[in-house]
Amino acid sequence: MIMKIVTVRRISQFFFFLLFAWFCIVSTVGEEFRQIRGWPVNWFLQLDPLVAIATALTTHTLYWPLLWALAVVVLTIIFGRFFCGWMCPFGTLHQFVGYLGNRKKKTAQKIKLNKYRKAQCIKYFILIFFLFMAAFPSLAATLQTGLLDPIPLVTRSFNLMLLPVIDRGVSLVSVTARFYEGAWLIFAIFLTAVLLNLVIPRFYCRFICPLGALFGILGRFAVWRIGKKQNKCVDCKLCEKSCEGGCEPSGNIRISECVLCFNCREDCKKDELIAYQPVPSLAGEITNPDVSRRGFVLSLAGGIFAVPAVRLGNELGSNWYHIIIRPPGALPEEEFLKRCIKCGQCMRVCPTNIIQPGGIAGGLENLWTPVLNYRIGTSGCQLNCVACGQLCPTSAIRSITLAEKLGEGDFADAGPIKMGTAFFDRNRCLPWAMDKPCIVCEENCPVSPKAIYTQECLNTVRDGILTVKQVTDNMIEVEQVLVPGKFAGGDYYCLLPGGDLRKIAANTENSLEFSPNERLEENLAAGNKIEVQVRLQRPFVDIEKCIGCGVCEHECPVSGKKAIRISAVGETRSADRRLLLKSG
């Protein structure tokens, strides 16, 4: 029984693609089989050496779950770019679309599509550019590899775009629809990348992918590589018919472009001509990536210069954008930007769907980083939830315990983690501006004691000064015309001439009615002026207790622009964004 290597390769690609998709599907908090349980949903991100190396550059540490990447690095050094050809889910997708798009083409056309192009060196420039943006944390460093690193990119695309759209119909993953701001951009990029395979197969892999570039560099000294074993070659170029890497196995094979698809070996009509061997190809091989010195220096300089250039807006200093509210457990901003790979896992797992991909408002570096939007989703940040930090693969959001989030037990001295502070917009708040009773915010405030408290006040309503016509048992007839039932809510009081206040039970078109227990003064005569007043509870924020969880903002009935909004000032993760002096 024969098992061809290309068959196994296809099985492997299929297997890892399905595994990846499964991990995306199950990333919901819960214990059922189709929920997160113990599924290692971050495994692909942890295997990604670009994540490990880039975070090692920016933080000078290797976060322990990323040790998986070392295994991939070691295997790549020995065997070559096996990850690209056998494991990468994005690569698999590109290969499949490329296959679908080009299978009807003639052989000669296919060979032409797979020839090596000079532009394949662009991905190395991209890699160098990103790595040098990350290289000098003591001066200024930022982690932007996540923008084009395929694993975070495909994770983002699946979790924040494909899955919500597909699930809208079947509701298997989430009962309520999931929303993600700015997902149109993720969609556009994903679609473009996928469709470009119809132009040239594996377009992204060959020209753009910085991870592929990294593997190309690591695989330079691969012990085993594709090459010609004998001198029998007749230059038919059939080997390049389905060459995935665009590495030209027909001649001087470019080792750093070869993704170990083994199609060349399979398509070659001569036996034992093309082999995977520990010696160099008889036809010659080029091990170095096609990077000119000038190109290298330009990317390097670009990367180093880009960081301070991008930060000229001082968004990390006094010009910080107050609406960028980070999830609980997030590191201080500068440290955060050194670790966030924009994978979107936190956004995927957040049970209330409030973690959203950020835009470029507040700085370019904010793109696709997690930002809390309390208007979207099903609630504010739930008090007893720490899911986001559990899923962050690089600990940009630390995996905090509930005790640390709430400031209990060992963390009682430090107090609870505050994400920001709520501010009332008194021009929009119903009891403040519209004389309408409402304390939805106070009712929903989840901390104990509540961070919203109210002060009572009585305001005379519009057209509320009435003239008494007649007084019977528990009714005052007035001369003015009233809207029947308007004062029946239990919030309205009648101010009598003596200064007493009586609660109004109901009203008809021309009279106010009171409950039998309310004693109306006997000396209330016709012609007296009485006032209808509304009892308002005007809310205030207690900024010492407010943790910025946003439940109030979510529940506020003044839709659109809420009458209470959270701003990141007062967040505990940043020493220089304090609102109050800490006492003791």
Partner: protein
């Protein structure tokens, strides 16, 4: 023969490859091991990078702790004041680096008295060099734009002409500090760079009325050492001033009461805000200096709560009489 050579060549190639791969793997392994982080990041600044301002004070000499000199000419009075305390040689030894921190808080003209007098600063610089100082640094972290402050106050030019090196604040000169026993100065950025290598520290400040604190004199002068969003401390102004007196231990403070800003402090703005008092105080105890100086503003020690808080914390004494200040008149 060639076959054998080929085989040898192939084997050498192979071993070469294996060797290089092995080295790469070893390097990757070693780097991973060195950087391996089992804990994950913590919040806030690392404890190891906290700094403490050095103690610049000199041994006490009873009877030579404080001097009060009356006179209209600052150059004369400051010379006399320092002479009475043992001369500049007591404070500055040859070869030392002296840091002078005058009040350069505002981009204000020197005649308005909101900043230290430039001639006074220049004179102190000259005295330090006379005592054999290797270098004298003049520095401050102003409220207004630093370059404008040093220029418009005249201190930049005066100090430079006297041979001092003027250091303006920049990010890299700030480090984090926590004051032991402090409630407010915790993990806070402080202007540290110029003082790191200094041997002695002298503070020079005018006597000013201050709307929030009551008065701004020698202790409040050190507010300039705080970085970050230091305005937040105005919510608890007396505690922060007291903590400043605990955090900074200078060699000498010179409190210039030649012209005192009695209203509209700390910025003043009009010459009519000033009143001539023709007094200059030099002191090794800045709490005593303030306690003495506040009298020129018609204030009592009890009007300035930070004095008592600082005294209780052990940073000095408000009973300046007990230091037996030496009084004199000069010029």
């Amino acid at each position: 023969m060639t076959g054998q050579n080929d085989k040898k060549y192939e084997r050498r190639q192979f071993l070469g490859r294996v060797g290089k791969a092995g080295i790469s793997i070893a390097a990757a392994g070693l780097i991973s091991y060195k950087l391996y982080d089992r804990q994950g990041p913590n919040t806030g600044a690392d404890a190891e990078s906290l700094v403490t301002l050095p103690d610049f004070s000199i041994p006490e000499k009873p009877g030579q702790a404080m001097s009060i000199v009356k006179g209209a000419e600052r150059k004369t009075t400051v010379n006399k004041a320092i002479e009475l305390l043992g001369g500049i040689e007591r404070f500055v030894k040859p070869g030392e680096t002296v840091a002078i921190k005058p009040n350069v808080a505002f981009a204000s003209s020197p005649m308005l008295g909101a900043t230290a007098n430039p001639e006074l600063v220049a004179e102190v610089v000259r005295l330090c060099y006379k005592a054999g100082a290797r270098q004298v640094i003049v520095t401050d972290n102003p409220i207004n734009d630093p370059a404008s402050c040093f220029t418009l106050s005249g201190i930049g030019r005066a100090a430079g002409q006297a041979g001092a090196k003027v250091i303006l604040p920049k990010d890299s000169l700030f480090r984090y500090t926590t004051l032991e026993g402090g409630m407010l100065i915790r993990n806070w950025p402080v202007f540290f760079g110029p003082f790191e290598k200094a041997d002695k520290l002298i503070g020079i400040s005018p006597i000013k009325d201050h709307a929030r604190a009551g008065a701004s004199m020698s202790i409040k002068n050190w507010y300039g050492l705080l970085g970050g969003r230091r305005n937040v401390f105005h919510q608890d102004i007396n505690t922060i001033i007291a903590e400043l007196s605990m955090m900074v231990r200078p060699t000498l403070v010179i409190l210039d009461g030649t012209e005192v800003m009695v209203t509209n402090g700390p910025t003043g703005g009009s010459v009519s805000d000033l009143r001539r008092a023709n007094t200059l105080i030099a002191s090794c105890d800045m709490i005593a200096a303030d306690a003495c100086g506040c009298g020129l503003l018609d204030l009592k020690v009890s009007d300035l709560p930070y004095l008592s808080i600082a005294e209780k914390a052990g940073a000095g004494t408000t009973d300046y009489e007990s230091l037996k200040p030496i009084l004199a008149t000069a010029g």
